[in-house]
């Protein structure tokens, strides 16, 4: 019960210590794997961190890599906090990304101040509604949301792939991708030589909004209450079904916006299978951050650093960037050990009974 309630400062310090400990274990695990396979781990980590933090454009690229992870981390965190295990953020991200691209290359005559919000709004709505479906099935019929969201991810990924392979295919392109969005729909980039763009500011805004929602709004109180004790909340007269549906909608909405920001800020078009698992890394981030929005922000920055530094590490030290996944898996194991003492154990018991 360390993470909930109006956390006293001692608990917050404990959380931070735990986060640091988890990260150290993960880095050690990565070093172990490298040493055992005959690589110089110090050199590799050196290359990773200096290329991710070395100069202003390196930092910009790390922030760029963190941007989608902030959204997906928030999406996972808000669902987990309400005791809903949404694994379907990846699916919402794909559908949202396609929706944003579609709006961007369809309403080309609109000015930017109108078109960009429109693209993001469409993506948010599509992502939210997609996630609302398993939320509704969970709330009204008791269908386990974990299983349905995992299955629906495949549906979303395959369906968007179908869309750009058939109805929206651009002729003459080697890979399946949509047309480019109108220049007015493209997010501004901060500096030449880096794709770092205003999408990051939207992500920061999302952190603030979700913090406010969780701490200050009725829904935030309700979702924390449902997450801590669904039976109690129901007896207190809270509309628990409605709350679960709302939370799933918001979670999917954030996933949709993540997709939109990738399309409008980085690629300018939708490409099939474009995400390297942003939605799943969001789960790792939420676990590491103990579901706190501010924590998600910093955990996402960290994973942004790892991701953007890993390609340089691969280039200069011959350590494949797949190593990052080993770190990620370790983070999940160790971060989850703590969280399971809280609501996850209750959830397991919940499934049992």
């Amino acid at each position: 019960m360390l993470l909930k309630k109006s956390t006293p400062w001692i608990n917050q310090i404990f959380e931070i210590l735990k986060m640091v400990f988890t990260l150290l274990v993960a880095l050690l695990m990565g070093a172990l794997v490298m040493q055992l396979s005959g690589k110089d781990s110090m050199q590799a980590y050196g290359a990773l961190f200096s290329s991710a933090l070395g100069d202003s454009s390196a930092i910009a690229n790390s922030l760029l890599a963190a941007t989608p992870l902030i959204f997906t981390g928030l999406a996972a965190a808000i669902a987990f906090r309400a005791g809903v295990f949404n694994v379907g953020v990846e699916g919402s991200l794909y559908l949202g990304a396609f929706a944003a691209a579609w709006a961007g290359f369809t309403f080309t005559s609109l000015p930017g101040w109108l078109l960009i919000p429109l693209c993001i709004l469409v993506a948010a709505a599509v992502g939210g509604l997609w996630s609302y479906i398993p939320g509704m099935m969970k709330a009204r019929l008791g269908v386990d949301e974990t299983v349905t969201t995992i299955l629906l991810n495949y549906v979303a990924i395959l369906y968007t792939s179908y869309l750009v392979n058939y109805p929206f295919k651009v002729p003459g392109m080697a890979n399946a991708m949509s047309a480019e969005v109108a220049p007015a729909a493209q997010l501004d980039r901060f500096m030449p030589g880096s794709q770092f763009n205003t999408g990051f500011l939207i992500a920061v805004a999302a952190v603030i909004v979700i913090t406010f929602l969780m701490k200050r709004m009725n829904l935030g109180f309700e979702l924390r209450s449902v997450g801590d004790n669904p039976v109690f909340s129901k007896w207190m007269g809270m509309p628990t079904e409605k709350i679960i549906e709302k939370v799933m909608f918001i979670s999917g909405l954030l996933g949709g916006v993540a997709g939109a920001v990738q399309v409008l800020g980085v690629h300018y078009r939708f490409a099939a299978n474009f995400s390297p698992g942003f939605g799943f890394t969001g789960i790792t981030i939420a676990l590491l951050a103990c579901n706190s929005p501010i924590g998600v922000f910093f955990a996402a920055l960290l994973f942004g650093v790892l991701r953007s530094g890993s390609s340089t590490m691969e280039l200069f030290t011959d350590v494949p960037r797949d190593l990052i996944r080993v770190l990620e898996a370790t983070v999940i194991f160790f971060a989850a050990m703590e969280i399971s003492w809280n609501w996850l154990r209750r959830k397991r018991n919940g499934i049992r009974n």
Partner: protein, 300 residues
């Protein structure tokens, strides 16, 4: 006719990893520790299978290595889930991510190739021609001439069913799954039963992975399982944990996979939409099961 024979023959072939993994899934579902890690365990199995087969120029050693590695990792999974109380879905996802990362990492570091490993010094597992059936006109061409694991997987469906419904262990397993506390009160060694089910599942998942990498061809590619672990779980839900019906689900999904290549070539129908169907069908089945439960509850 030729078309039908071809489709049915490949259906049996591509269903095999699904069936083996789904039997692991069925055990885990029945003991109420749904094994999300199947995807990763299969991937580890596939990797170890071809790597060790190539290393020792012996396919059977590869098979053994696949089973042992998947077994070891399922022990890690079981440790975290059963004793360290990590949520089983979280632990499953972690194993999957680890499998994806570590196999790709080792492929690059140890074999200096990116994406694919295709050794030329090993043969795939032997094929088996069923003595009498192989001479029956149509049936022979569908049923005979598969790799040994294909037949082994059918045996495993039978054995899993036997284990679950005809042995004391199976009874204990199902009791733990239905109501853990009651099983504990009845004196069942719950923890041992849980470990045993997950470890048995690990062996089956290792075999499933080996079938992918050394069953028909000998190769490994990054993310070779490509969601098959989850398809197998979908089949488990299709069959509600009963081995027979689960295997039928696997055959059904296998047929989708077998059809998908051919339909795409013949008619230009989108393979993505065809690939989507199994997932959608299972979601619909899950909803229907829940609706039925709800109606039953209201009738009481």
């Amino acid at each position: 006719m030729e078309f039908v024979i071809n489709v049915l023959y490949s259906t049996l072939r591509v269903s095999t990893p699904l069936i083996l993994a789904a039997m692991a899934g069925a055990l885990s579902k029945q003991v109420n520790l749904l094994n999300i890690a199947l995807e990763g365990l299969m991937l580890f199995g596939a990797f170890a299978g071809v790597v060790f087969a190539a290393q020792f120029s012996n396919t059977w050693l590869g098979l053994l290595a696949a089973v042992l590695l998947a077994l070891a990792l399922s022990a890690v999974f079981a440790l975290f889930v059963i004793d360290l109380h990590v949520n089983l879905i979280v632990a499953g996802l972690a194993i999957n991510i680890l499998a994806l990362g570590l196999t790709a990492y080792l492929l690059t570091v140890v074999f200096n190739t990116r994406g694919a490993f295709i050794p030329d010094n090993v043969q795939p597992l032997p094929v088996w021609d069923i003595p009498i059936i192989k001479d029956v006109p149509v049936l022979g061409r569908i049923l005979s001439g598969h790799g040994v694991l294909v037949y082994f997987s059918w045996l495993m469906v039978f054995m899993t069913s036997l284990l679950l419904y005809k042995t004391p262990f199976g009874l204990h397993l199902r009791a733990v799954g239905k109501h853990k506390e009651a099983a504990l009160t009845a004196g069942i060694a719950v923890r041992r039963v849980e470990y045993a089910s997950i470890l048995l599942g690990g062996i089956l998942a290792g075999l499933a992975g080996a079938q992918l990498s050394i069953g028909d061809l000998t190769l490994f590619t990054d993310n070779m399982t490509n969601g098959r672990g989850f398809i197998a779980l979908a089949a488990v839900f299709f069959g509600n944990g009963a081995p027979g019906l689960t295997a039928v689900g696997c055959l059904l999904f296998g047929m989708f996979e077998a059809l998908q290549f051919r339909v795409q070539v013949m008619s230009g129908f989108s393979p993505q939409l065809l690939q989507m169907l199994p997932y959608l069908i299972v979601v619909i089945i899950l909803v229907l099961i829940s609706v039925r439960k709800k109606i039953q509850r209201q009738a009481l």
